[in-house]
């Protein structure tokens, strides 16, 4: 399978998905996948052509039939008893139907593909709206430009990093084959040196961070802290030297042992994570998007406080009950709140008045029945709505 095919199939084992179909050495038009793609396009085009020509009085029965069959699939899957044995075999009263339902030949994949297409529609819609605004220099065109730039930067780095990760996995697979043969060469030696350095750096950072935590807690004096840092530096140098010696020894003997293979694996991963696309992806996703996202949502705390102060007023008995219940639950979510009544011993009568006991009681004996009642009502509603949709009575589906 070529690189593009791998990207589409996401390395699925042959035969498990359409794009993972086995390729032959023949020219493109002789390949089975080529004719499958062409056939699918032709079939879909003909199908859509005829569907668009269907008289309007036949459209409703077609839609209702398709909706009914799709819905009935899930009902049948749910109701027909079946059991999968440890061997993978499905046991059901009607084996063919049971196997077919449990094997999921199409339903799950089709639904995933349709849901994925919605994402593509979303991207196209964003592009149309904001590119149009940018071209016509309408109000806030600048923000539209920033949005499009951000979107395409994210898409570029996302895809490039995905492809780079796939290449890394191919290299790792090659290393695994070399490790099973025990054949050492300069390529694996280079990766092992990088891996040795990366492992030593991780160890050094762990020691330094641990020392800093202990120093901050007062478990280490300043001189002890500095001694730990110096020791970590020295260990770092010696670990790199030891790794290099191990690699040199393996290179001279021509034997790729498990220790050097482990170093090489680390090196392959480290090299990929230091690549331009991986760093770019980290920058736009982890260092920008995540931080901006978190900062935006942290503003909610201010709005909640302001709204609670102005709007949470006791104007009735119900509001009073609601407020006291909320206060108890709020207090039970923080150790400082729990500390207010921690002096009352659990298991005794006064222990029933601990904040955590009252909170647990409210959640178990007041909240749970209420939520169950709401869920029961919702389920009945879903059932009625489901029946209406399946039988084509719901106007939103057919009109």
């Amino acid at each position: 399978m070529n690189q593009f095919g791998k990207l589409l199939a996401q390395d699925a084992p042959p035969g498990t998905n359409f794009w993972a179909m086995e390729r032959t050495a023949d020219p493109l038009f002789s390949q089975p996948i080529f004719w499958w793609v062409v056939g699918t396009i032709v079939f879909t085009s003909i199908l859509f052509f005829f569907l668009s020509r269907v008289p309007s009085n036949f459209r409703k029965p077609i839609i209702v039939t398709v909706v009914f069959l799709c819905g009935f699939y899930y009902i049948a899957e749910w109701l027909i008893p079946k059991h999968r044995l440890p061997t993978g075999e499905v046991v059901a009263p009607v084996p063919i139907i049971g196997n077919w339902l449990a094997g999921l030949p199409a339903a799950s994949s089709t639904a995933q593909i349709i849901a994925s297409m919605l994402l593509v529609l979303g991207v196209i819609s964003i592009f149309r709206v904001h590119f149009g605004r940018l071209l016509k220099a309408q109000k806030d065109w600048f923000f539209s430009g920033i949005l499009l730039l951000s979107m395409f930067t994210m898409i570029f780095f996302g895809f490039a990093n995905f492809s780079s990760t796939k290449s890394r996995d191919v290299t790792l697979a090659e290393l695994n084959i070399a490790a099973s043969d025990g054949s050492m060469n300069q390529r694996w030696a280079d990766f092992a040196r990088i891996g040795g350095e990366a492992q030593a750096l991780t160890n050094r950072q762990n020691v330094e961070q641990d020392a800093f935590r202990r120093f901050r807690k007062g478990e280490l004096t300043k001189s002890e802290y500095e001694a730990r840092l110096a020791e970590a530096r020295a260990t770092y140098e010696s670990e790199i030297q030891a790794a290099n010696e191990q690699v040199d020894s393996a290179l001279s003997s021509g034997q790729l042992d498990s220790g050097v293979a482990a170093l090489a694996r680390g090196g392959i991963r480290a090299q990929q994570s230091r690549s331009f696309v991986a760093q770019g992806q980290r920058f736009v996703f982890t260092d920008m998007l995540q931080v901006l996202d978190a900062a935006t949502f942290s503003l909610i705390a201010f709005f909640i406080l302001s709204a609670a102060f102005r709007a949470f007023r006791i104007r009735s008995i119900e509001a009073t009950i609601l407020m006291f219940t909320a206060l108890i639950i709020l207090l039970s979510f923080v150790p400082l709140g729990l500390a207010l009544t921690s002096g009352l011993e659990s298991g005794t009568f006064p222990g029933n008045f601990r904040i955590d006991s009252i909170s647990d009681w409210i959640l178990a004996y007041l909240n749970t029945p209420a939520i169950r009642a709401i869920n029961l009502g919702l389920a009945l509603g879903y059932l009625a709505m489901g029946m209406r949709i399946l039988m084509g009575l719901e106007r939103g589906v057919t009109e």
């Binding site: 999921l104 799950s108 849901a115 949502f297 609670a308 909240n367 749970t368």
Partner: protein, 282 residues
């Protein structure tokens, strides 16, 4: 009367300033308070602690930065526990951003001392993003291998003995949405179900813990701190392990923010009553 009236008309920026000062104080110099670990988190910890080396769990991570304060520390505490137990992980998500957030956090935790240098495809696999939640769960419950076939993970040691969902020891969700509802509907008792959720989701999920459908439940930042406390009790500081982390760090600022909220609500109501009394007497 003027004092109460002034309190009712308090400029919101003064409230913001007080909140900033309190949270800032707790970030710089947090007050330590003893924790009372909830029974729900204890059950969750115990069920994961009972797993053996080589067991496999499905972890569905559906949180992003909108709930980072709660979900991140929950996810990291869970990863620490699974990695120390050498439990293999199948990581999935129904949120396109969440899977990347989870991967970054998993790799961060894997580098910590004592977490057995977890490696992709050897100790964990990334099942990736599934756009349609219902059909994803449907596929996982009916035919897990087929559902994950296109993700390039079937040939890994993690998936070696997994032919059905019942071969996994548990499905664990770290979520900030109602994504667990489909699991409640479609799970069919094939394996254990556990949940790390945000505080606002607790009310709707506690009934499932009460019915035994959830083997354990960690709620909000307090749930993360509970889990960290249990990790600390079990592992202490052996091998430089990190047990107490963001879960505890968030407790101080959260506690003071909530206390301020409570005080604001109480004083807002007192001021309203006093102003009304003053108005009717005059």
């Amino acid at each position: 009367m003027k004092v109460w009236q002034a309190l009712l008309n308090l400029d919101r920026r003064i409230l913001y300033l007080i909140l900033m000062l309190l949270v800032g104080w707790q970030i710089v110099a947090p007050i330590d308070a003893d924790n009372v670990v909830s029974a729900k988190t204890q059950d969750l910890f115990a069920s994961i602690d009972a797993m053996k080396e080589g067991d496999v769990v499905v972890v569905q991570s559906d949180w992003t930065n909108s709930t980072r304060g709660e979900s991140r520390s929950q996810f990291q505490a869970l990863m620490r526990h699974l990695m120390r137990k050498r439990v293999k992980i199948i990581l999935t998500s129904i949120d396109p951003q969440a899977i990347e957030v989870a991967r970054v956090n998993l790799e961060e935790v894997a580098k910590e001392p004592g977490n057995n240098n977890y490696e992709l495809n050897r100790d964990y696999v990334i099942g990736g993003y599934f756009p349609d939640a219902y059909n994803y769960v449907f596929g996982m419950v009916n035919n897990i291998r087929k559902e994950l076939a296109a993700k390039g993970v079937l040939g890994t040691p993690v998936m070696e003995n997994i032919n059905d969902l019942s071969d996994c020891k548990a499905v664990i969700l770290v979520t900030a949405s109602a994504s667990i509802n489909v699991w409640y509907q479609r799970m069919r008792s094939k394996t254990d179900l556990a949940l790390f959720c945000t505080a606002v989701m607790s009310a709707e999920n506690i009934p499932y813990y009460a019915s035994g459908q959830l083997v354990g439940l960690a709620i909000g930042a307090k749930g993360a701190f509970d889990y960290e406390t249990l990790l600390e009790e079990k592992y202490g500081s052996q091998d430089g392990m990190i047990n107490i982390a963001a879960g505890k760090r968030y407790m101080g600022p959260l506690a003071f923010a909530l206390m301020l909220l409570i005080v604001a609500v109480v004083f807002g109501n007192i001021a309203m009553v006093m102003v009304r009394k003053g108005g009717s007497s005059s």
